[in-house]
């Protein structure tokens, strides 16, 4: 702090502090506190706000246990609160997408980091960046075109006589495909960054000492890529769990994502207090997930957020 004062004087130092304080307080912390505070208050018409009915309670949170829903999993039938089911399936499918993107991205990252000649690297990166620059909504839309009932996928399968009648694709399957497609690059780049810092001599040494290729990956390359895996996994999981576009566009009517629940509280029911409660549940999930990943992979926050 004194260093700042000595170099830039009181006025500039004050400006730095004011700008940072505006960002962290007004744009980040206070909005989240407001959200937390209003999540405990009931949804009331304007005239009754501050009146007798306006007191703190967990009622908004408890609605998550309402609306029982019959479902079956692996042949077992049971009843579960609908919103709990939505919450759990959002977590499950987001985790599934994270695993799939990792499996798809690992060879690509390895190829970019260790196999391809450095000369063609910029061109490859350019090709990889093109889909990244196309906005998320258009990427989801592209898959919607492919998956629609009268779309090219059904036409192809009918033409090849793989199916006899067109298939209705829109559902959790298409959402998974869409999410993988949309976020796979967020796994490729952190993995590439981590692998690239590995000394190729270490791989060669392992091979010279007789290690089969899979053991080299398991014992040398994978452990070295840990920060990249953590960073990629956190990014992909968060983006999936927080996605509104892909489940809405590719999910048809059968898919319910937790973000859609928040959206319907906020924009359809106009019950902002319940919306705040559900948004806070999502925020808690994300915080737990980030800390969990930091624990599991033994990395710091600065490794994850790059």
């Amino acid at each position: 702090m004194e260093r700042l004062l000595r170099r830039y004087g009181a006025v500039l130092t004050g400006t730095f502090i004011a700008l940072t304080a505006f960002w962290l307080l007004v744009l980040v912390l206070l909005p989240n506190f407001t959200m937390l505070e209003s999540s405990f208050r009931p949804y009331l018409p304007a005239v009754e706000i501050g009146g007798q009915k306006d007191f703190y309670s967990f009622r908004n949170y408890l609605t998550i246990f309402g609306t029982p829903f019959d479902t079956s999993l692996l042949g077992m039938h049971f009843t579960i609160p609908l919103r709990i089911l939505i919450f759990l399936s959002t977590i499950f499918y987001s985790a599934l997408v994270t695993v799939i993107t990792f499996i798809l991205a690992y060879p690509v990252a390895y190829y970019l980091a260790k196999i391809v000649s450095p000369k063609s690297l910029p061109t490859l990166f350019l090709l990889l960046f093109v889909p990244l620059w196309v906005s998320e909504i258009l990427r989801a839309f592209a898959w919607w075109i492919i998956f629609t009932f009268n779309g090219p996928l059904n036409a192809l399968l009918l033409g090849l006589h793989i199916v006899d009648t067109p298939v209705r694709w829109l559902g959790y399957n298409s959402v998974i495909v869409g999410l993988v497609y949309t976020y796979v690059l967020f796994m490729v780049f952190p993995l590439y960054n981590a692998m690239q810092s590995l000394d190729s001599n270490q791989i060669e040494a392992a091979e010279n000492l007789g290690s089969p290729w899979w053991r080299t990956h398991w014992r040398v390359i994978l452990p070295h890529s840990k920060p990249g895996i953590a960073s990629g996994a956190v990014t992909v999981f968060m983006l999936c769990a927080g996605s509104i576009l892909v489940p809405t566009i590719l999910g048809g009517t059968s898919v319910q994502w937790f973000t859609q629940t928040i959206q319907s509280w906020m924009l359809e029911a106009l019950d902002w207090n319940s919306g705040a409660a559900y948004a806070f549940i999502l925020l808690t999930l994300c915080i737990v997930f980030v800390f969990g990943m930091m624990r599991v992979f033994g990395v710091k926050l600065s490794d994850i957020a790059k």
């Binding site: 407001t34 060879p107 090709l127 093109v130 492919i146 809405t248 705040a276 925020l283 994300c286 957020a305």
Partner: protein, 278 residues
């Protein structure tokens, strides 16, 4: 063995690129199909009517203007904020730094929907209604973190001695800032500005909750989901992809030319050195 392995990897990379690019090609191709639903099958002949429809769509022009306006405002706010935060955090250490750092990167890890909801609730407590101004503030809350990270990385390579020297030679504080520190940071600030601009254009989750009744491009496209997409969206996508690709190609050409020039200079330098030794 290695040959065969490399061959497999080349193949995989090729397939991966095809997987990334084919959906975009299908989407672009559908914009020329004379079919009311956006698809490439059945092909009902070439048409330019979706281009004309897009050109005549007033709402899309308004949405386009809004998007650019929001993006410019986000750049104007997040670059100074991110730069100031980076300079501040670079000058402190220990526990305070760790806490501040965690606070600064947290918005990147928070889902956009949470930022959108919290921004809307916070400002409505002060009777500031929803609208694009709130979208700007919501977007800045996480985009400033990208700028901060870029500038902070650049600060690592900054020689503090230069500032000392400038102060010893009688420069004022403002001069140290303007003539010594900022010129070193300009590349990172420019990169941060570019990222801020594109992140803002892409943004959907925050904008959806804070926009009020105003449209941006992403929200406009989304509003077409319920009515079934008209093929004008394909045209819009095709145009956006073309612009991106064009910009990327120009960048690539410049990069190659720069690399060639750098190689030439190097060769010249080596020749001159050899001549000097001889």
């Amino acid at each position: 063995m290695n040959k065969k392995r490399d061959y497999l990897f080349h193949l995989y990379m090729g397939l991966f690129l095809a997987y990334l690019l084919i959906p975009l090609i299908i989407m672009g191709g559908a914009s020329f199909n004379d079919n009311k639903v956006p698809s490439i099958v059945p092909w009902k002949g070439w048409t330019d009517r979706w281009f004309i429809d897009l050109w005549n769509d007033d709402r899309i022009w308004i949405a386009f203007r809004n998007t650019i306006g929001v993006a410019l405002a986000v750049v104007a706010l997040s670059v100074p904020i991110g730069t100031a935060a980076a300079i501040l955090i670079n000058s402190i250490s220990g526990r305070m730094r760790a806490i501040l750092y965690a606070l600064m990167v947290a918005p990147v890890l928070i889902p956009g929907i949470v930022i959108g909801v919290s921004t809307l609730l916070f400002w409505s407590a002060f009777h500031v209604g929803a609208g694009l101004h709130l979208s700007v503030l919501g977007q800045v809350s996480y985009i400033a973190a990208f700028v901060m990270l870029l500038v902070l990385a650049r600060l690592q390579s900054f020689d503090m001695g230069l500032e000392e020297a400038a102060l010893d030679l009688g420069a004022s504080h403002a001069q140290v800032m303007r003539r010594v520190l900022l010129p070193h940071l300009y590349p990172a600030m420019a990169a941060g500005g570019a990222i801020a601009f594109f992140q803002s254009i892409e943004n959907f989750n925050i904008t959806l909750f804070t926009r009020g009744n105003a449209d941006t491009l992403t929200v406009y496209v989304f509003s077409k989901v319920r009515t079934g997409f008209p093929p004008t969206i394909n045209v819009l996508a095709l145009l956006l992809i073309s612009v991106t690709l064009g910009a990327a190609l120009i960048y690539e050409v410049f990069r190659r030319r720069r690399a060639a020039i750098a190689a030439m200079h190097e060769a010249e330098g080596r020749r001159a050195e050899e001549a000097g030794i001889a």
